[in-house]
């Protein structure tokens, strides 16, 4: 397969970037998108050029490191997959593929396709934890009966890998799907109720401070999320927030 690539190249955070054209031959359908970029980088290195920098780690869709806006969509045209799980068979011979970094003011570009997503870490630090006695008297979580439906929904929320596709897809660069998943995974469980009031307020405050946009319920985040995190979580976060605001 021969591909025409238009890749965002940017030396560093302060330098202005631009789309650069590359032509790549010999790409097979069984390759993952990142393997295709590996092939490109090998060629660039052999020519003495600077390779394209991009984030990646596990390459099996669980770490949330890979990103990339591919032909205008985060993680590309496929659904429920991360960029590392996207296969080149989704593209055709002769296709032009535009590859850009996730764009959000809260996700500044570090270089090329690598963005700083530490804003998500700070939102997590603001409330993404529970207080558990770890002094040797820790109670087994399974000792507390939990409604199956709640346990399933909490688990679904907890599958969020924090990749940032929700922000990248949203026309407002809103982080509400991510934040709501992190609020929901605790809000539904008894262990999470202890700090529920502070958690939702602190995490939403941090989310706003980071400069993310406001959710307008377009639903783009839910469609593009590689883990299928539901908009129900945003509704739950809104309920939690309104309830917490009344309580104090």
């Amino acid at each position: 397969m021969k591909l025409n690539l238009k890749i965002w190249r940017q030396k560093d955070a302060k330098t202005k970037g631009e789309l650069v054209d590359y032509t790549l031959k010999g790409i097979e359908g069984d390759m993952s998108f990142l393997e295709m970029l590996d092939v490109l980088n090998e060629q660039l290195i052999n020519k003495g050029e600077e390779p394209v920098q991009f984030d990646h780690d596990c390459r099996e869709g669980i770490c949330g490191a890979c990103s990339l806006q591919i032909n205008g969509e985060p993680h590309g045209p496929d659904r429920l997959v991360t960029t590392c799980q996207l296969h080149m068979r989704k593209f055709n011979d002769g296709d032009t593929i535009v590859i850009e970094p996730f764009r959000a003011t809260a996700f500044p570009v570090i270089t090329d396709l690598v963005v700083d997503r530490s804003a998500f870490d700070r939102i997590q630090q603001a409330g993404g934890y529970i207080s558990v006695n770890t002094s040797g008297n820790t109670v087994d979580a399974n000792a507390i009966p939990i409604n199956k439906h709640d346990a399933d929904e909490a688990m679904d929320a907890a599958t969020c890998i924090g990749c940032g596709a929700c922000v990248a897809a949203c026309k407002n660069a809103s982080a509400m799907l991510f934040t709501s998943a992190k609020v929901s995974q605790f809000a539904l469980l008894p262990q999470g109720r202890v700090e529920a009031v502070d958690r939702v307020q602190n995490m939403v405050r941090q989310m706003d401070l980071e400069g993310f946009g406001n959710c307008t319920n377009t639903g783009a985040c839910e469609v593009e999320c590689p883990k299928g995190i539901s908009l129900k979580n945003i509704a739950r976060m809104n309920r939690e927030y309104l309830s917490a605001s009344v309580k104090g």
């Binding site: 238009k6 965002w8 789309l19 806006q69 032909n71 205008g72 969509e73 045209p77 535009v98 850009e100 764009r103 959000a104 003011t105 809260a106 570009v109 897809a169 026309k171 407002n172 660069a173 809103s174 509400m176 939403v204 405050r205 989310m207 706003d208 400069g211 993310f212 946009g213 406001n214 959710c215 307008t216 319920n217 377009t218 639903g219 783009a220 469609v223 593009e224 908009l231 129900k232 945003i234 509704a235 739950r236 976060m237 809104n238 309920r239 927030y241 309104l242 605001s245 104090g248």
Partner: protein, 222 residues
């Protein structure tokens, strides 16, 4: 409650509540207007009531104006914030792949409806204020139908009304159900709310279009 006024969720809730209030107002407005076609005497009677009742004039009308201003001002404030949230835009952004046109263009449909509101207020509200408070004309409970029908005589004005209602329909199509999601309602009733929203977003604006066209093609001649 500290920081509530700056909170993104609180602002969303203000948008949702003011929006729902305006949706309810629209229904009330439509019910009165449709009588201009099916029961002209009732239209005159109700219009006169709305124009001279103290509760409507001095309590409900200011609340309505406040509702419009809040919805508009908050919408603009959120739009500015949202634009800043992606200061550097994508070279290629495929919004249609994951969200409806209506949900992505609420600001456009909203601004068109707002511009229409300017014309609408000029046509009817300014006229009423002039009649009652500037010219200090006597009460005439029979004048409303003729004045309304007269407004729809020009083809251009009728077309502007029709186009505006189409944009209003698109605005409602996303906004009505969306306000429930903002208020935290996403459950077994959500599918019903979505269906009701679509019916409402079609029926009410279509009804207003029908009224405008009906009066355009059925002028009152003496």
């Amino acid at each position: 409650m500290s920081g509530l006024t700056k909170s993104s969720i609180a602002r969303k809730v203000v948008m949702a509540l003011s929006g729902l209030f305006l949706v309810f107002f629209l229904l009330q407005h439509f019910i009165i207007n449709i009588t201009s076609v099916i029961a002209p005497d009732t239209f005159n009677e109700w219009s006169h009531f709305m124009g001279y009742n103290g509760l409507v004039q001095y309590i409900l009308q200011p609340v309505l104006i406040a509702g419009v201003i809040v919805h508009f001002a908050m919408g603009i404030a959120l739009e500015i914030k949202n634009n800043k949230a992606r200061a550097i835009k994508y070279k290629q952004y495929k919004g249609s792949a994951n969200a409806s046109w209506m949900s992505r263009n609420m600001i456009i449909t909203g601004l068109v409806v707002l511009a229409f509101l300017g014309l609408h207020l000029y046509d009817f509200w300014i006229h009423e204020i002039t009649y009652k408070y500037i010219e200090v004309s006597p009460e005439d409970p029979t004048r409303y139908l003729e004045e309304t029908v007269h407004k729809f005589e020009p083809f251009a004005r009728t077309i502007i009304y029709v186009i505006s209602f189409v944009l209003l329909s698109l605005h409602l199509w996303h906004g009505f159900a969306s306000s429930f999601q903002t208020m935290g309602v996403n459950n077994k009733y959500s599918a019903g709310i979505q269906t009701f929203t679509k019916i409402y977003a079609i029926v009410i604006p279509l009804g207003f279009i029908f009224i405008a066209l009906y009066h355009h093609f059925n002028p009152i001649t003496h």
